[in-house]
Subunit: 97 residues, 4 copies
């Protein structure tokens, strides 16, 4: 439980409204059972590296079915021996502001 | 109110714990008066392009005072004539999941 | 000369081919006189923070004229007292591989 | 050969100089046999989705051995039926500038 990623994925060939494609990715994330946090600029997901990357794969493979061009942005933050960080990272900063 | 960015900024020369530096950036964002959403992998900020970039500048200039190396990641999503998106983007997807 | 960014900017409402819009951004970068390195996933630009951000602004304002939705991704790496890094960063790694 | 990613990966707990860690990742990319382009802000890699992600996994697992905190940024651009894009994307824009 030591990696958090922020994932943003959308088609570039479907015009300016892409929320139905984003919803498909968020559904896949939800069904994974991993902890996640859906926000205006992507979805943060926490888990083991392999678990999280498996979810990224599934999102990509799903959009690939009917999209000709896909853009994906992902940031990952790994910290050894630090589970539950999707909440504790936020709390740790909030204590200081 | 038509740009949303996700901003992540931290020093690379201060060791593995950087939450006190992140807190300084979040404070600057907070004091800007712009709508924001603080999450585990960055802070989303909504406003006019110039307003939002001014906040990014302030965060960078603040960390520059005492950090030798700084990493910054920013994604921006601009949509014409679409205010209040920091909430509506989330709602629009949630209706579909 | 101590910041390098990698900038990727493109419209989301112009269909799957966006190279003419990317070319407009690269032209603006070129005309800035700053050191740059154009690659398959964005353009790296080196300069003072204010100079570099001014170029980012100009790219955004230019696409805004005729694009309804724009996505921008930017990474920045600042290092105190380290000019000419757009070349030296590459050389420093190449010596080690 | 239809995905290009830009990968940036580095430790956050090793101080301000990280080029020896970046070199390890670039070596792994090199040994994969995939087309790549090493630049000042990351390495672009082209291949099938699974091939490229396998290289990302290997880079992460390698740094994980001796780093307590790792940051990774990745952008991916997939386009159906478009091989050889690590060169053609650059050429296509260069013709227009």
């Amino acid at each position: 439980m030591s990696v958090i990623i922020n994932l943003s994925i959308f088609p570039m060939d479907k015009g300016e409204s892409v929320s139905s494609y984003v919803a498909r990715a968020v559904n896949i994330i939800k069904e994974s059972g991993l902890q996640y946090n859906f926000g205006p600029m992507g979805t943060s997901i926490e888990g083991e590296w392999d678990e999280v990357m498996e979810v990224v794969n599934r999102c990509f493979e799903d959009l690939k079915k009917d999209c000709n061009r896909i853009y994906l942005n992902m940031n990952a933050d790994y910290r050894k021996g630090a589970p539950g960080r999707i909440k504790s990272k936020v709390t740790s900063v909030e204590k200081k502001i």
